[in-house]
Amino acid sequence: MTRLNFFPVQASTEAPHTDLIYFGLIGFSLAVTLMVVGLLVVFAIRYRRGSGAKRGTLPKWIERDFEIGWTSAAFFLFLFAAFWTGATRLSALTPPSDAMEIHIVAKQWMWKTQHPNGAREINALHVPVGEPVRLAMTSEDVIHSFFAPAFRIKQDVLPGRYAQAWFNATKIGTYHLLCTQLCGTEHARMIGDIIVMSRADFSQWLASQPHADDLVTEGQALFASLGCSACHDGASKVRAPRLDALYGRPVDLADGSHAVMDDSFIREMILQPSAHVVRGYDAIMPSYSGLVGDEELLRLAAFIRSLGQAEHGDRG
């Protein structure tokens, strides 16, 4: 006999906050519903036709004052609710800067995940407990959506751009990963497992994965093999921006606008360099559209990101 569940397990740092709002709204809704239904029932009985209840003259001001009263009450209550539910979790939008980066590529009808050291999984994601995990996600075809109900996170994953989500798992266990944007025939079967392990178990698991180059090393190899270093290396004769320590920094563009060097910007620059010419440079970078796949773009971005961290002494 299945236990009747009402709420999913709270398995992330965000889950208690979401649930608090949920319970608060339930309490409010229960109160309002009981009040309305209660009044309906009481009035229906008391004022049924022919009942002896008093029905004399109502003073005129009642209508106006009640109206203004409950309109204002509703307005201010809802205003507060909008603030409480919306603004109090604004900080949850930004992932912690030391979050472990996982790359996710969604396609009809599976989830492909990749760890920073190169370990790959299909329809599964092993993560350590108690550590923030940042997901950089893209789709190979249609819009999918990454949903982990136990963590209370959801993010649509779009083709042609990067979507970001993050979580910090607080409970060891296995949880559903569900696609929640209709993506075709097997949309309902695009289910995976997120396995949260203790740090020790996770290190063990990671070490036992088939050896593959980590994302940064693969990105570095691509950087050379695709000819990027021919221009972007410091010793090159071609005048091209150096990419050291630029990740996350603002970039001035030739048309006067600004952009931030993030994963999406890097992707666009590789695929459509003439769209965002950097100020002070000529528009001579060739486009790699059609020559570079989604997963390779993720690796290149990871490599350029690692260059940006070189200043902070993380790498040799």
């Binding site: 299945t2 979401t18 109502l58 539910t85 979790r89 249609v142 819009i143 559903h176 025939t185 309902a188």
Partner: protein
């Protein structure tokens, strides 16, 4: 002159609209708004049946977590069919094009709508659109969901998206034509003395609805056109590989589709006011606020579409603004719920079927509206977006709300439209059965949603099964409840007692003429000297006496 005296004036040859021609052609070519209303009533009933059968099959399938007898593709096509047919071919035309068409000229004292031939043309546009859509079904179905998200609908789906999109596109022009017709009718055909703030709230609801129809539907038309252009001609517009943005589709689509839900609920709200005032024998509480609330819902409703896109990748700052506005749009709805409840205070309440449906509406709409607040909160929406929570929310409003109001209207105005009485006992039984069946079907879905059961899932993790079984059981009760009205209403048509002109003792202008009305509605254009809902003197309470209108709207003070 009293209403009774007016009736004595009707010559025997002021034949009812039902007797004005008996051939099929006299119905299919009629420009009489009452006959066009009946044409719509027949077509929406047929579409409702199609949409209902589709979802009945789905609910049977969902009893088993691994499915039962459907393929994944067929399942996806069935819920898509349900959504498309129910939204565009049942809910949107339901109250405005049946009861709105029938009653609007009657309620304002006019002989017909402003453009009767356009009215007939609207019905044919609706039918043509419906035929395109049914062709899509028969040819193999559509599997994109009623929301047609790109790039799946434009570049990946192997189903008949074009035919379905074309069907909705064509039907949309019928909606726009109805909106234009109603707006001009209300502005220019009100009879002498029928000032704006003497209009019944049902008329105001049709006005607000028509504004939304005229302003929102064209955006749907252009969105579908672009989907057709991308899919049929291969013109990239939303295609990210050519630099387009699939989110653009979502913005355009929801810019229409959110106001569309107000098209579906505003007329229902108008009906509820008409019914509650009549069966509580009371003037409506706060008439002016009720008017402004409906106009506010229609207006603010245009600025909340982004709450369908909180997790889509749109800017978090835009999301905050949409969240705030979504909370604000709930305020006028709350006002209406309070005003309906207050209308019962010191009334003389009776519980005929229309009243049961109207009271059910208030409760179910309140629950549906409150769950809308959950969805307006960004963190909660992150959890429940695209899950069964959303499905439950909108069914509480659309079915618990609009469909309840539709049945309230059907029973309330049945004597006016047909001149017959329906069987009250069976009608009450059906109303109560519907209420329980509905709650049993949809309340478990709130729980499913927060637990994480996504919507549009053919198969689901087995721990959710108990709720699906509850929901499917409730659905079978609901289905039985829906089968009752056709039976006893057809019986009423054939064998029902004659109702007399105003069996409920209601005060609206429509009740001062014959039941069923003559072809040109009134013998002479009535003159109005009072406001609506004069069930008792202002400031006093109604009497418990026999059912007579205290003062019909056409009677002088």
């Amino acid at each position: 002159m009293t209403a009774a005296a007016l009736h004595d004036e009707y010559p025997p040859q002021a034949a009812s609209y039902l007797r004005d021609g008996h051939s099929l052609w006299s119905w299919l070519a009629s420009t009489d708004h009452k006959r066009i209303a009946i044409l719509y009533a027949i077509s929406i009933t047929m579409f409702f049946f199609v949409g209902a059968v589709a979802i009945a099959i789905v609910r049977v399938e969902l009893v088993n977590p691994n499915g039962q007898f459907l393929s994944d593709d067929t399942y996806n096509k069935l819920f898509t069919l349900h959504g498309i047919v129910m939204v565009w071919f049942f809910l949107i035309p339901s109250i405005p094009n049946t009861f709105g068409n029938f009653l609007l000229p009657l309620m304002i004292g006019a002989p017909d709508v402003a453009f009767p031939r356009l009215n007939l043309f609207s019905w044919y546009l609706n039918i043509a659109g419906g035929l395109f859509t049914l062709y899509a079904v028969v040819a193999g179905g559509v599997d994109t969901g009623w929301t047609f998200y790109t790039p799946f609908s434009t570049m990946f789906s192997n189903s008949h998206v074009l035919a379905a999109a074309a069907g909705v596109f064509v039907a949309g022009f019928g909606s726009i034509a109805t909106g234009v017709n109603f707006i001009v009718t209300i502005h220019m055909l009100r009879t002498r003395g029928m000032a704006w703030f003497r209009l019944p709230l049902f008329v105001w609801s049709l006005y607000a609805t028509s504004l939304v129809l005229v302003l929102a539907t064209p955006v749907l038309a252009v969105t579908l056109l672009l989907v057709i252009a991308e899919r049929w001609f291969g013109f990239p517009i939303f295609d990210p590989t050519h630099g387009g943005d699939p989110l653009l589709f979502q913005h355009l689509f929801w810019f229409y589709s959110h106001p569309a839900v107000y098209i579906m609920i505003l007329p229902a709200m108008g009906v509820v006011t008409e019914v509650i005032t009549c069966f509580a024998r009371r003037r409506v509480f706060g008439y002016t606020f009720m008017v402004y609330a409906m106009v506010a819902i229609a207006g603010i409703g245009f600025f909340v579409w982004g709450h369908h896109m909180f997790v889509s990748g749109q800017s978090p700052y835009a999301s905050l603004i949409f969240s705030f506005l979504s909370f604000v749009v709930a305020v006028p709805s709350a006002i209406k719920v309070f005003n309906w409840t207050a209308t019962l205070y010191r009334g003389q309440i009776t519980f005929e079927a229309p009243m049961l449906y109207a009271l059910g509406f208030i409760g179910l709409f309140t629950i549906g509206g409150l769950t809308g607040l959950f969805l307006a909160s960004i963190p909660i929406d992150v959890q429940v977006h695209d899950t069964y929570f959303v499905v439950a929310h909108f069914h509480y409003i659309m079915v618990g709300g609009s469909v309840s109001a539709f049945f309230a209207a059907l029973h309330f105005w049945w004597p006016k439209i047909t001149g017959k009485l329906y069987d009250e006992a069976w009608a009450r039984f059906a109303a109560i059965l519907m209420f329980f069946g509905f709650n049993f079907t949809f309340f478990p879905q709130f729980l499913l949603g927060y637990l994480g059961n996504p919507r549009r899932y053919h198969v689901y993790p087995p721990e959710f099964q108990v709720y699906h079984v509850m929901s499917s059981t409730g659905a079978s009760v609901l289905a039985a409840a829906y089968l009752l009205p056709p039976i006893y209403l057809i019986w009423s048509l054939l064998y029902g007692k004659s109702s007399g002109d105003n069996p409920w003792g209601a005060t609206g202008l429509e009740w001062t003429t014959r039941s069923p009305p003559p072809k040109h509605n009134f013998l002479a254009p009535p003159t109005i000297e009072t406001g609506p809902y004069e069930y008792h003197e202002k400031g006093e309470a109604p009497e418990a006496g026999p059912r007579v209108p205290h003062r019909a709207q056409s009677e002088p003070r």
